[in-house]
Amino acid sequence: MGSLIVRMKDVIKTYQLDGVSIPALRGLNLEVSAGEFTAISGPSGSGKTTALNIIGALDTPTSGIVEVEGKDLSSLSKTELAKMRMNRIGFIFQAYNLIPVLTAYENAEFVLVLRGMPLMQRREKVQAILEEVGMADMMDRRPDQLSGGQQQRIAIARAVVAEPALVLADEPTANVDSKTADSLLDLMEHMNKTHGVTFVFSTHDPRVMNRSDRLLVLRDGVITEDILQKK
């Protein structure tokens, strides 16, 4: 296993809703190393999405330590957190979340533009990744002209094109049919094996759980099982 990418220590997250405290994470301890293909499963409300949001610096914990590549997220400003998301983390969402006014090509290119990568280099990378996800011939289409599976392929391309240290995928196969889900998993597995991209999924989908290297089971905000799987 490679170096440590994610470390969560005693992470507690409590939401306040109309004056009522709702605990989402109750002292989560988790370590993810480079190159892992890890799935976090658990029933609804177990805290899977909250855990991913906190690792991805989209949300902050109530208490506890969260480190990404050795950096304590609580020590970073909002702008530094935005920079870290841009440079080190890729996101794949259940609802794809492509930017509707941009074409497939521009969506895949988006993070590279934010990074200020030169045009020629950008074009080369985007074209290569679109070839890899099988979307090169649809690069000029807007999201509303693509199927759910095609949109998720673009979302995967967007997440990995900038070669992040970590890709966080929140139920990536939840909105697609089983055939498409299999092909998306093939694709992410391919990215993991060939590019060494670290994936952390939250999922209900048995297919994702079966194909992951490591399966974490989350219940009531704590990890109850940590299973290394041989395929």
Binding site: L58, K78, I99, P100
Partner: protein, 405 residues
């Protein structure tokens, strides 16, 4: 730049709303440009009428005459003073005043006799060309007089009618004479309209038994010269006499002309406030509709400032469109009104502001400042109107925004 492209496409997403917002801004700008040019035109006309019609830029009187006018407070040898002023490059004319009565048939009215040199007056003011009907005075026709507009109405006098005047001459004798109305003036100003009876200097001298002197010398400064620069030279020539600029002679009017911008700015601000609310509404709607999208962008690493910039750029692209449209309609219309004007003659026969006639054809005056000021104000108010939605978008928490539906 990607952000510009995104902003442009976001605008095109909601074509109708963007179009209405842009058209509202363009309409406000066009109207404000036209209004600003019309106001400038009005002020310019007032200043021109105030000075060039009758008052001149500078007037010279005998000391104390203005405070307490009297036929005996005279400028000695006005002819040589006028000649000196002309030699110094100014246009100048001298005038004589006296009061009396004029009658025609059963109608009579108090009048102010105004003795003028027809040629010098023609060279100095626009009065001789400001005739409603008839013709101006001629030195060769000393029995001709020209009447103010309302005086002619009071006396029911028309061109070629005879009128009788009576007064007390400077030697104490009764002055009375029969004259022929040669012309009637358009509206000049309150006093001239109501009581002005113009006659030649020689006729005045004969009627009032006043062989020499004058009560007023009116001076027009050439256009290329600033009044304040010309004043010392005039004062030097008219030593010992009372020299006053038109601004000192009619301070209310001068104040009004000087503060014309102060009247214009609140009107622009009020009009644009309505537009700023339209912008604010449109941009707030755009931001609320896209909260989820901003969340995604932030998740991908777009910083708060870039989101702020995106909202601002969207508003400014629309403002640029509105500016082009507003200028393309407002400026030609302002130029059209500079040539053709708006004819107010159907509403009134004549109008005065602060005792000075204004033209019944209201013409605009197109200048860089009267176009730039509404344009700059539009941009400032759009910036203010967009600030709140832009800050709101910039401050969204990615996790809340991304799960917002």
């Amino acid at each position: 730049m990607k952000i510009w492209r995104m902003a442009f496409r976001n605008i095109l997403r909601m074509k109708r709303r963007s179009l209405i917002t842009t058209l509202a801004m363009a309409f406000a700008l066009g109207i404000m440009i036209v209004y600003s040019c019309l106001m400038d035109g009005l002020v310019h006309d007032m200043e021109k009428n105030a000075t060039m019609l009758e008052m001149g830029h500078v007037q010279i009187h005998a000391p104390g005459y203005l405070e307490s006018p009297s036929i005996y407070k005279r400028i000695e040898d006005p002819e040589s003073l006028v000649a000196s002023l002309q030699n110094a490059g100014f246009h100048a004319s001298y005038r004589l005043f006296a009061s009396g009565l004029a009658a025609r048939g059963n109608a009579s009215a108090g009048v102010q006799f105004r003795g003028v040199d027809p040629t010098l007056e023609s060279d100095t003011t626009r009065l001789p060309h400001h005739l409603l009907e008839g013709k101006w005075l001629d030195e060769k026709e000393p029995k001709n007089v020209v009447l103010g507009k309302r005086l002619a109405q009071t006396l029911s006098a028309k061109v070629s009618d005879e009128i009788v005047v009576v007064s007390q001459a400077s030697d104490g004798s009764i002055a009375n004479e029969l004259y022929i109305v040669a012309g009637i003036l358009k509206s000049v100003g309150e006093i001239v309209d109501r009581s002005g009876l113009f006659m030649t200097v020689s006729a005045f001298r004969e009627l009032m038994v006043m062989p020499e002197g004058s009560h007023e010398i009116v001076i027009a400064v050439p256009p290329e010269q600033e009044l304040q620069d010309a004043l010392p030279a005039i004062k030097k020539i008219a030593q010992g006499l009372d020299v006053k600029t038109w601004e000192q002679l009619n301070p209310a009017l001068a104040e009004m002309i000087n503060s014309a911008d102060a009247f214009l700015i609140p009107l622009i601000v009020i009009t644009y406030m309505a537009i700023a609310i339209v912008i604010l509404n449109a941009m707030l709607m755009a931001v609320f509709e896209r909260i989820h999208e901003y969340g995604v962008m932030k998740a991908l690493g777009v910083g708060p400032f870039s989101v702020f910039r995106l909202v601002l750029i969207e508003a400014f692209i629309m403002t640029h469109g509105a500016a082009i449209l507003g200028l393309a309609t407002g400026v030609p219309l302002a130029f059209y009104l500079e040539t053709h004007g708006i004819d107010l003659g159907i509403f009134a026969q004549g109008a005065t502001i602060s005792g000075v006639a204004i033209d019944l054809v209201w013409r605009s005056l197109v200048s860089v400042s009267s176009i730039l000021m509404p344009l700059i104000f539009l941009y400032i108010l759009v910036l203010l109107g967009t600030m709140y939605p832009a800050i709101k978008a910039a401050r969204l928490k990615p996790v809340d925004a991304i799960h917002h539906h």
